[in-house]
């Protein structure tokens, strides 16, 4: 009886503790199943030979996403062949930001010639699970989905040629060498993800 009481108390304590939102570096991220701009469903598990992943919460409309668009394409060009592809996810609610509708995503991916998936997170559950807040917001994952880096692509949003710290490249290079990322977490000014109104 006493035992049962203790178990009950423990259960209440667990239920009452606030649910932690988002992954930290070192956590194991969850896989997802999201619709790509080509209409097919994509999961991280589809990449059988991947050595890691560059998951980027991005969108069509944010000026920061636009400033980083070519740099995101370049990241995929540089690392997909080594087994670390870019997986872009748009979680913006198109009712808040009409330029982020699925049709507009299809257009942008075509116009920019994306060689990587650009997925729609319609329910925003993936963005919430990861703890994404901004666009673009990067999560570098190892092949077994350990989070090795969270944050910005680099330290200069305005000018790609004036960058001095390439956070994501450094993290992926380290991953490929079996080392820890030199910088594991950064913050950047950016557009907040356009959440659905509750």
């Amino acid at each position: 009886m006493k035992k049962l009481f203790v178990v009950l108390l423990a259960l209440i304590a667990v239920a009452a503790s606030p649910v932690k939102q988002g992954f930290e570096v070192g956590d194991t991220a969850t896989d997802f199943k999201l619709k790509n701009v080509d209409g097919k469903t994509v999961s991280l598990a589809d990449y059988k030979d991947a050595k890691g992943y560059i998951v980027i919460f991005d969108c069509n409309t944010c000026p920061y996403s636009k400033a980083y668009n070519q740099r995101i394409i370049d990241l995929n060009t540089k690392y997909a062949a080594s087994g670390v592809p870019v997986i872009a996810i748009n979680a913006n609610d198109p009712n808040v930001s009409s330029g982020d509708s699925f049709e507009e995503m299809v257009k942008l991916a075509k116009q920019k010639g994306y060689k990587f998936p650009y997925l729609v997170d319609e329910t925003q559950e993936v963005a919430k699970a990861y703890g994404a807040t901004n666009t673009p917001h990067v999560f570098v994952l190892s092949k077994d989905l350990k989070v090795t880096y969270i944050g910005a692509i680099d330290d200069n949003s305005r000018k790609a040629d004036a960058v001095s710290k390439r956070y994501v490249e450094d993290a992926v290079d380290a991953l490929l060498q079996g080392k820890a990322a030199p910088t594991t977490k950064t913050k950047a000014i950016g557009c907040g993800i356009k959440w659905k109104s509750a």
């Binding site: 901004n134 949003s157 913050k187 557009c191 993800i193």
Partner: protein, 159 residues
Amino acid sequence: MKFIRISVVLFVFALPASAQRIPQIKLKELQQLLTTPREKVQVINFWATWCAPCVKELPLFEKLKADNQHVEITLVSMDYDLDPDPAKVERFATRKNLQNKVLILAETDPNSWIDKVDKNWSGALPATIVINTKTGKRKLVQKELHEGDLEKLITEVSN
């Protein structure tokens, strides 16, 4: 002749006011705004001209200024990170006839200073800090505000 003179005067008055000059500040001044004890509750809004939800919520701060003499409002533009030319912000403030104090935070490398503004801030815009500098009690909101939100936050830090 008199008619011409009056026309000239009218013409001059009809010209749009030249864009207001907006002071550029450094992190240290922003930190002082957050820490120097003052009588009035400080409402500090981080926004940018390119940020649609920020622009949408700006009237709430203008209304607050008109309604509540017991708070001090500062609109801190984050435009500098993408565009260091203050002209866009100055034109915007003039066009919208902003009555609140507007400042531009002129700092690069946000990763080095976002935590120093508020360690819970992701860096996403819009963001608003409501702070009672006498007690240090503060509230950070990292999303678009709606009617009544600011009043609630002010009450919360005042008690």
